[in-house]
Amino acid sequence: MSLFFQSLVLGVLLGGLYALLAAGLTLYFGVMRVVMIAHSAFLILAAYLAWFFTSETGLDPLLSLVVTVPLFFVTGVAMQRLLISRLRPATLTMMSVLLTFSVALVIEGMLGFVFSGTQRRIRLPYSGDSIELFGANIAVVKLIAFGLAAVSLGALFLILKKTQFGQALRATIQHPDAARLVGINTDRIAGYGFGLGLATAAIGGTALALDSTIYPSLHWHWIGPLMAIIVVGGLGSIPGAAIAAMLLGLGQSLLQIPLGTTWAQTIFYVALFATLMVRPQGFFGGRLAQRF
């Protein structure tokens, strides 16, 4: 029973990170109808920057967020304005996949070029520490990562819900033409939306770097589950992505008990196919997405 509870806790912690990253990925799709393959490559880039920051300065990797979050936001805006917006609208989805795919390759190549293929891990004095909760051990680093994800997701929610920018963004997601008609500069909003999505990658990458080894080709390992999550959650729906992320993260963690690590990973793909067969618009999209 304690193993079950332990796995449950680990699943929640993992699901939180998935939720933040999937929120970013679904945001791009919402504002631009873009499947951003490079999302997880930026995630790994942020993790490398955090690692580099810590190994150079000796300071806590969380401090690197001060640099990476604004940097990634600007990069995201620039990417949308300079690259994505150049594509023809009729072929946007397909061509943007290829374009972001090529960005992912360049990032992976450059990471290998600069930092070599060696696996890296941030050395933290508290990496082995844990706190006990009802018989389950919760690693401090995982808790920090989860906290980071939860806070960022909350902040994202507030930005979208409470600010004028968020309203404009939601309008752009729901009906770009109507948004344009009421005077919203949808191009600029889409750029900011892209920046916001990339900022989640910066935070997610730093959280990831706290308790995981990183290497340049790691991003392929992340993009599959994340894409499955956003389809299950309903493309473009942020709450849908968050819920699907939590459920699938939990599912993965619990399935590891009977099935082992490898087969447990297939839950994402099984869920993806099941969703497309049964309910192609996603399980949590539709109504829920309208509200956002």
């Binding site: 332990q6 796995s7 891990r121 308790d211 590891q256 008990i257 690590t261 490898t262």
Partner: protein, 408 residues
């Protein structure tokens, strides 16, 4: 009219490709006929990509060996020249690299690449052209069951036998002191799995119960769930079939869960000089098999360690030693047979000689069975007082085996 232009473009491209490929081939080829020129040795190594870290270690070992040979009169009186290509950790590339080395660069001899996954396709090419194929890394059983008659593994033991001394030591313990339960976690990689399952087979024969048996994909970075299973089983001994970072991650994850085994054995990682830095104070008592130690008193070893340390600033590790061993093995055959050229007859003589003879190397005297398996065993090392020391077998031990691992 588009049709014709279409075809014309295609034809033009193809024609230019042909001429270009012809250009590509010219210039670099230096035929290796018998003579006084240098002996050209072709090698393909993963210098970039997933296996690049150990690949570079092997490269250092090869280069040090070549320089050492050249400073000491060469091979058959001829200088040794290495042609090292990068296979990008890719099986398609490694085959094409050896194809290139043999056909275009006209190398006289080939040395093996790194990693089991790349050895098999490379060995196939070498076999097809009749080349002797001595390889520094490719310890998994699968390498030797493919029917290659040109292949020799230049290290003391195949993966499955790495823990033999440890298994013997456990068997020698009184029944009551032996571990009763064991947890295994191995990377899905022929080499890493081979080491862990080699020990598993032995322990199960002794009646040690297997309580966890996990295999994880090579790209795994989150060991939380695996660690949770192991911790939950409270196994007396934990065995990790690991490469490097996976061992670090697993140990951290196990510590996070407060699991304290009586014995912990991990392959490869603990022998890495960066391991104690990554784990910190908690290395005490961790066991690991190794094919090489700089302290070993085999005839040529002291010279190797001295030469290498002077050259690189630090003593050689296992990858470097295996590369050096590969050089020694081939050199011994070349000196004995008296030829080093790509002619199949010469290569066959080299192969035949190695089948029959023992070679003294920095990892000890080596002999091979008919499939190229070396017939030795690995030493067992353990972190004792913060240093990694040889603890088994007793005749080579530098420190006493710690049976009850301190808490980590």
């Amino acid at each position: 009219m588009k049709v014709t232009t279409t075809h014309r473009v295609g034809a033009l491209a193809l024609a230019s490709c042909l001429t270009l490929s012809a250009c590509m081939s010219s210039g670099s080829s230096s035929s290796g006929e018998e003579g006084d020129g240098p002996i050209n040795i072709g090698i393909s190594l993963p210098l970039t990509g997933d296996f690049s870290e150990p690949g570079k270690g092997v490269q250092r070992g090869y280069e040090a060996w070549a320089d050492y040979v050249n400073e000491n009169g060469g091979l058959l009186g001829r200088d040794v020249e290495l042609t090292i290509l990068d296979d990008q950790s890719n099986a398609d590339r490694v085959a094409s690299d050896y194809e290139k080395l043999i056909n275009q660069d006209g190398v006289d001899l080939v040395f093996g690449p790194f990693s089991t996954r790349l050895v098999v396709p490379a060995a196939q090419v070498a076999q097809d052209y009749g080349f002797l194929f001595v390889e520094p890394a490719g310890a998994a059983e699968e390498v030797f069951t493919q029917g290659f008659d040109n292949l020799f593994y230049a290290a003391p033991a195949v993966a499955d036998d790495h823990y033999d001394y440890l298994a013997d030591a456990i068997e020698a313990l009184p029944e009551g002191q032996r571990p009763k339960t064991a947890a295994y976690a191995a990377m899905d990689d022929p080499f890493a799995m081979g080491t862990a399952y080699g020990l598993k087979t032995r322990l199960e024969e002794m009646g040690v119960e297997t309580v966890v048996d996990e295999v994880y994909p090579p790209n795994t970075t989150d060991f939380g769930s695996i660690a949770a299973k192991i911790a939950d089983s409270k196994a007396d001994i934990v065995v990790g079939g690991t490469q490097y970072q996976d061992a670090v991650n697993m140990i951290v994850a196990l510590r996070q869960l407060g699991y304290q085994p009586k014995m912990a054995a991990f392959s490869t990682a603990p022998t890495n000089p960066e391991f104690p830095e990554a784990i910190g104070e908690q290395t005490e008592g961790i066991l690991s098999p190794t094919g090489y130690t700089p302290e070993a008193d085999y005839p040529t070893n002291a010279e190797f360690v001295e030469y290498y340390t002077e050259r690189e600033g630090n003593p050689p590790a296992e990858d470097e030693a295996n590369a050096w061993t590969t050089g020694q093995v081939v050199a011994a055959a070349v000196e004995a047979v008296g030829c080093a050229d790509p002619d199949p007859e010469c290569q066959q003589q080299l192969i035949d000689w190695l089948r029959e003879n023992e070679v003294d190397t920095v990892v000890g005297p080596l002999t091979w069975d008919s499939e190229g398996r070396p017939e030795g065993a690995h030493l067992i090392q353990q972190y004792v007082d913060g240093e990694i020391r040889i603890v088994l077998p007793e005749e080579a031990a530098e420190a006493d085996l710690i049976l009850e691992k301190p808490e980590w």
